[in-house]
Structure formats: structure tokens, C-alpha cells
């Protein structure tokens, strides 16, 4: 049921057109941060307003929307954003990655491989990969223009000098098609390989910082590293305790105050699908498909 007081997907058509122009520019120049006139949304800045605006500009009445936060469909902010689009756009929603035409995400890329025609919209807090090395936007824009990325390599090198390894575990910077260094949003570096050569269109929206950027399908994306310290995606060295998956990113859940903990898939749809297919982890119980 949609709310008739507002236009389809909340934003007016002129605003959506403005956002689509920024998206098209982003698609044409992969990894480049396109300034756009971000609107004030009815949810706070920093809570996904960039992603919400990109989603609003891309949605059509025939779309099926999935919203995840930390990989899960049922975290409060994902619930809130999904509800917003159910109310203002009346689109179908799903938790199944494969059934969604548009997925808005915060901090994760779904485990299941995306397919041609799907759009993945990332919520981005700080779009500038150089921001914590140089706080001034006027300077960082210049650095991108001149392809002056020495500073970020120095930072990674200093990590190795101090810790023996690159101490960046999320929002790990990537280089897009050999040109722009890009912040993949705060996804764990475990997800970085999925950025590259994805058949899906990947769009990044930063509302407060007024930036949109994009990775068109099959864009070559490389995580920054050194020959003698190659990039390593990492995850907790465990299997999921519910579904037994050994290849998925895991959340650590504290189960008591005696140091007890278990590890479960952060991607709730992936985990449930596996459980329903009969896979069983160390602490899982058999599930009947569609049953309680």
C-alpha cells in the first residue's frame, strides 16, 4: 500500500532526474565521485540517506526490493528503510537475494553471486578514500584529478612497518579500472573481491557528503596492495554454527558471560537458504522448509 501524499518513491520527479544524471555520470566515469544536490530525507543523515536517494531514483513499480544492514534483512535500520519504500513506492519486497532486482545494503555484499540486471546500492558514510589522510575536500579532489595516490600507499606501507601487515580490515581502498582510488563503503575486506567483474550494477550513495559513484557491470576493481604483501580477504577462522558454511562472512555472537561464543553467517538469507536445504552447523537444528 503506498502513501498517496507523496510522489512514487517519495522524491519528486525533478529530483530523481537530477540524481539519475549523477548516476549516469558515475557509470560513465567508474569510481569518480560525482557531486549531487542531496536532499534532506525524512531519516537522519548518516543513516542511509544517500542509498535511499539512489534507490528512489532507480526504483520502478515492477521492482522487487531487498534491504540489508550488516548482511541481515531484519536489523532495525534495514526494516525501517524497507518499510519506507513499501509505504512510499508500494514495491514488492523480498529477503531472497536471487529474487531482488534492487538491493540496498549497508556494510555487506550478499554471499550469493549477483546476476545481470540486478542493482546493488551501497550506503556510504565517507565516500572519500583519502579523507583520513587529508581532511580537506578541496585538496582530495585535486589529488584525484592528478592521480596522486602516493599518500595512501605510504599509509599502507606504514601499517606494514608497524604491524607487519596492512591494518585496514574494512572500507579497504580499491582502484577502479586502473584510474580512480575508491572507497568501497565500510564493507569488510572479505567482500572486496566481489566488487570486481560483478554482473550487477553497483551504485554508491553518500547523502550527507553529497556524492554518488558507480561501478558498471564487469568493472575491473583491484584492492590496493604491494607485491610482497598481497591483499588478503579475511574472515573469522570458523564455520557457521547454524548452517556449517565455511566460506561465508561470520558474525560473532556472545552467548554467555563465561567467554562462550558462536559464529553465524552475517548474511541471514544465505544462512537460512542453506539451513532449509539441509545443511547443518555444529549448533544448528534441522529446519523444515517453510516450517516453524
Amino acid at each position: 500500500m503506498s502513501d498517496q501524499a507523496y510522489n512514487f518513491a517519495y522524491l519528486d520527479e525533478q529530483t530523481k532526474r537530477m540524481i539519475r544524471r549523477a548516476i549516469l555520470k558515475g557509470v560513465a566515469v567508474p569510481g569518480y565521485q560525482v557531486p549531487f544536490a542531496s536532499r534532506e530525507m525524512p531519516m537522519p543523515y548518516g543513516w542511509g540517506t544517500g542509498g535511499v536517494q539512489v534507490t528512489a531514483a532507480c526504483l520502478t513499480p515492477d521492482d522487487t526490493l531487498k534491504v540489508i544492514d550488516q548482511g541481515a534483512d531484519d536489523t532495525t535500520n534495514a526494516v525501517s528503510i524497507r518499510k519506507f519504500f513499501q509505504r512510499t513506492a508500494g514495491v514488492a519486497v523480498t529477503e531472497a537475494t536471487a529474487d531482488a532486482t534492487l538491493i540496498q545494503t549497508r556494510h555487506r555484499i550478499p554471499e550469493a553471486a549477483l546476476t545481470t540486471g540486478q542493482i546493488l546500492v551501497y550506503q556510504v558514510p565517507i565516500p572519500e578514500p583519502l579523507r583520513f589522510l587529508e581532511p580537506r575536500e578541496t585538496e582530495t579532489r585535486k589529488m584525484h584529478e592528478l592521480e596522486e595516490y602516493g599518500l595512501i600507499h605510504v599509509k599502507l606501507y606504514e601499517d606494514i612497518a608497524r604491524h607487519g601487515t596492512i591494518a585496514t580490515s574494512y572500507a579497504y581502498p580499491v582502484k577502479v579500472e586502473g584510474r580512480y582510488v575508491m572507497d568501497p563503503s565500510p564493507i569488510p575486506k572479505f567482500d572486496n573481491p566481489k566488487l570486481s567483474n560483478s554482473p550487477a550494477l553497483q551504485l554508491f550513495g553518500a547523502g550527507r557528503e553529497q556524492r554518488i559513484y558507480a561501478l558498471p557491470p564487469f568493472t575491473h576493481v583491484v584492492s590496493l596492495d604491494f607485491d610482497d604483501h598481497p591483499f588478503e580477504p579475511s574472515k573469522a577462522p570458523h564455520d557457521c554454527d547454524l548452517c556449517g558454511a565455511g566460506e561465508s562472512y561470520l558474525d560473532e555472537v556472545i552467548t554467555d558471560d563465561q567467554g562462550g561464543r558462536m559464529f553465524v553467517c552475517s548474511d541471514t538469507d544465505f544462512c537460512r537458504t542453506r539451513c532449509e536445504a539441509g545443511h547443518l552447523g555444529a549448533l544448528g537444528v534441522p529446519v523444515l522448509k517453510g516450517g516453524a
Binding site: 549531487f36 526494516v79 580490515s169
Partner: protein, 360 residues
Amino acid sequence: MYVAVKGGERAIDNAHAWLAEERRGDLGVAELSVAQIRAQLSLAVNRVMAEGSLYDPDLAALAIKQARGDLIEAIFLIRAYRTTLPRLGASCPVNTAEMAVIRRISATFKDLPGGQVLGPTFDYTHRLLDFKLAAEGEAAQAATAPAAMEAVPHVMAMLDRDGMIEAEPLGNDVPADLTREPMELPGSRALRLQAITRGDEGFILSMAYSTQRGYGRTHAFVGELRIGAVAVEMEIPELGFAVEIGEIELTECETVNQFKGSKTEPPQFTRGYGLVFGQTERKAIAMSLVDRSLRWAELGEDYTGAPAQDEEFVLMHADNVQATGFLEHIKLPHYVDFQSELELVRRLRAEVFATQEAAE
């Protein structure tokens, strides 16, 4: 057996219901009406209009009621509503020289055409709690005088006539609109003023205060502070002339600042400017100081590294709706990122212990 937390939707609905109940408070106490807020908390209403960038006292009062008196939350409600409104056009510049002033003071001249008009100010009240108000005592009727009909000229216009103050020629540029275009820096002065007038009162106040304490001092005098109603006019293309579409209350502050002159220009005073919706005097004065401070480059002054001289620092951090949203978003789940940090720190610690053991 572990079961993942579910039911986010029901938790959210219940939280909203509880919030609504808390907002209403004790049912034994009469409900506050929007009209009461508008009439009796008018300075709060003014702040919400100014920082919400929407001149509508009724909506601002409603927002304050809905936000339980949290003014930044009320400002956010107004901003979110404002953004859904169509933009029909731009008004003609308001003529503050024609303002029907309720308050007008100058700190630079003892007396001047139009006079010093104190108006409804806290300035010389003794800040003693008035316990009569707790007993709901009605205010005595204030004395009245017939309103002066003639316009009150600007102090700056008088200084300008003698060439004592930098000229500020009229421009025909269409000002940028920071709510419709992404902010690109360095910005024009008009853009800076737009950002400051809707910026957080506390932030602008502190920035201005820092200039007074020496972080980018500009030696400001309040040339003039005026509060009153001005007519808003708009060119109607079909008519070919401007018609008055309404009236708004504004506070305007113009400061006179020292300028030593340069090789090409003789010594002259310079300007700082503040203009804010409603009776918002503290904000308007602070705005004029911050405006002047940010003008160091065009006036050929030194950059001393003071925060109030740093355009990017001031403009990127003045907006309280942006600031509060980003600050509070750290309440949202960050399990995934934290998990990746946990693994990293565990691995680094394991490596350190392994090295120590090997050494022993």
C-alpha cells in the same frame, strides 16, 4: 539453542508508540497547543524557522511540539518537510532599509536618524527568576507609542556616503541555492551566508566567540542591529512587475570592522553581515562576525590558521542536521566492521605472543 534476534519491525512500532505517550506526558496536565507554542515560545519557533530554512511559525511550533522541545529534532522535521515543497521561484531581494523596526540599535553612534529603539529585549533585564510566572501571573500591559511611519536608514549607508566603509555594489547575480546544488568550495560570499544563516546557533556562536578571543580577530563593532518586518515581493512574469506576497520578520546585523588599507586602497572600514529569520539576535551578531572572519582572503589579510577563518571547516561543520545525523549513526549496528577489527587485533596479538615465545 541460539535464535537470531528477530522482530525489528514490532520493536520499532512499539518504540514509536511509547515515544508518542512520553511526548504527551502526564495526562493530568493540559495538552500544549501549537498556538501556545507559537505565541509563548516564539524565540524557539524563530530558531527552528531559521535553521530549518522555512518561514512558517505554525509549522515550526508543530515541529517543536512533535519533537518534545528538542529544537534540533524540530529543525530536522522542518527540513525534511521543506525538501518536499516545490520551488516556485525566487523573491526579489528584501529591502531591509524599509523594515518596520521593532528594535534598532547602533553601538557606533550615540544618536542617529531613526534613533535607538530598544524594543522587546532581554538586554537590561536582571536575570532573576520571576516566581510570579510560576503562579501564572499575567503580564502588565506595556506602554505604547505611535509607530514611526518613515523608514529608518541604515547606519552603513551613512558611513558609505563618506567612503568610510568598503562599497558593496548591488549585483544582479542569481545567488546559488545550496539546497538545490551540491556545495562546492571555495564558495561565494552569498553561498557562505546561506550556509551560516541556517547553521547551528551554538556552532556559529562559538566560532564568532573564538574570533573575539583572538583566533582570527576582526575588531568588530555592531554598526547596527535591527529587527522587524519586511515585505517579500516577487516578480510575476505574466504581470511584468513585482507584487507583495507576504511579510516576514528578520534580524539583521551589520558590523564595522577595522581594515588597515593596502598599497592600492586607503584605510577604510569593512563589513560583516548577518541576516536571520525571526527575532534571532544572538545568531545574527555571531553570523556577522563569522562572515567577516571568512573574508580574510578577499581583503588581503593573513591566514593565521584560526578555525573561524577556515571556510571549509566552518561550512562543512555548521549544519546541525548533518552533524547530529552522522554523530548518532554510530548507534547503528557495526557488527561487521567490528568483527573484522576483532579478527585483525586477535591475529596481531597472536603474532606478537608467538614472537615473544620464540625469543624466550
